[in-house]
Symmetry: C2
Subunit: 247 residues, 2 copies
Amino acid sequence: MMDSAETALAATGDLSLHQQIVNDVEAKILAGDWPPGHRVPFEMELAEQYKCSRMTVNKAMSQLARAGLIIRRKKSGSFVSLPQVQSAVLKINEIRSEIESLGKIYHYDLLERSLRRANANDRAHLDMKDGKVLHLRSLHQAGDRPFCLEERIINVAEVPQSLEESFATTAPGGWLLQQVPWSTAEHTIQAINADSETAKRLAIAEGTACLVIERRTSSNAAHITHVRLTYPGNAHILVARFTPSQS
Amino acid sequence: MMDSAETALAATGDLSLHQQIVNDVEAKILAGDWPPGHRVPFEMELAEQYKCSRMTVNKAMSQLARAGLIIRRKKSGSFVSLPQVQSAVLKINEIRSEIESLGKIYHYDLLERSLRRANANDRAHLDMKDGKVLHLRSLHQAGDRPFCLEERIINVAEVPQSLEESFATTAPGGWLLQQVPWSTAEHTIQAINADSETAKRLAIAEGTACLVIERRTSSNAAHITHVRLTYPGNAHILVARFTPSQS
DNA sequence: TGTCGGTATATGTATATACATAATATCAGA
DNA sequence: TCTGATATTATGTATATACATATACCGACA
């Protein structure tokens, strides 16, 4: 078997020096050579080892600290941290591209579009006091099979241009990404049994398990939109990955 | 309404200079003042603006680039990037702490423990050629209610000390976190209808929608363990968040 | 007009240096 | 022995400097 140190050093490509240090240290930690609590060599020691300045090592160690792999304490040194709470990055693709990457033809149907004063439910979802919301219900299809049922409310005060858009052929998800540049988002994921209405729309038996993803998108302080995506059970699987220092 | 620039500058606490720059630029992007594609001021310009050296600005910009908020191109400058694919960080807590944080009493029951040669299914899950796996089935309870059904296989070759452990009172999840220091993980999440066996164990009606999380944990190259967690529907909701440069 | 090649420019990396900050270690004095 | 001041030390931040690298731009030349 190949020694892990060799593995690390073998990969010395044309990477920058500080990136090499990051990789080497990360490899040591992942391989278990340096268990949690182990003190990583001091910056000065590593600098000597790699024949570089302390600043270069510092840059590498700062990266590792930001990634959560090590914890740094003044005067004491840097220590391999305990594996944090199991966490993973969940990538939620645009529905259209998701379907097309499956080799299916994407089709979008608008079921309902209405403008209304925010009711109690809307206000809770968007954390707003008063105002109007645009309510949209639509169906995404892969080939001739229903793929996902979407129910969305848009905060009209924040996205007034949504009133101009019919959404007859444009799915609101992608459209909003264009309009509201960057965003923060909160997701909840749960399993529900399809009620009769949902079952009919998704062409599945009533009671079939469905995956429901709800997302609230915000920009700085204001909440922009809330969407509830219902996927027919087993037909859809979410994938999430976690790798430390996800470079 | 407060100007967003003021908002950003108002928050000038005792943060380090490069962190202030990160915050200010992030605020500008989130507020939409700098839309996607907009060219961020050059490092030299920002250095002048903040009356600091280019290196300090460079540190800030590098952070923003790593976080994906901006894209940097030599000779051209830095540009606000298009909102990436909706992604979010999913934190999957230790089941014990999750239950206890709900104010319930945690109880763990081992249902089955067996050592066996890896069958085709095991080999697929752990991506292994041959060898033994430890198979564990257990139930996590919150108060007197079933909370989660766990089915796990452990790669004995990678974690030989698992043979010494009875798991009669120790849940394998937390134990493994201690034994296998750092890890990468792949998760899949889906909704299923409870079969009769599952329904009985979880004390729910057959066919109830359940959330199933499968996780494969690895350390460097080798796969350590595969676990399938089944939560009774509606009783459990996953939460995931996304904020750019999740500092 | 089109292409080649040189120059200017913004970022990328690395260094030496300096001082700040936090926390440990040490030692004097009560 | 306990207390508190002081020294030591590792990290944190910031600077000036230097050179590397990629590339946009522009002008010369065919």
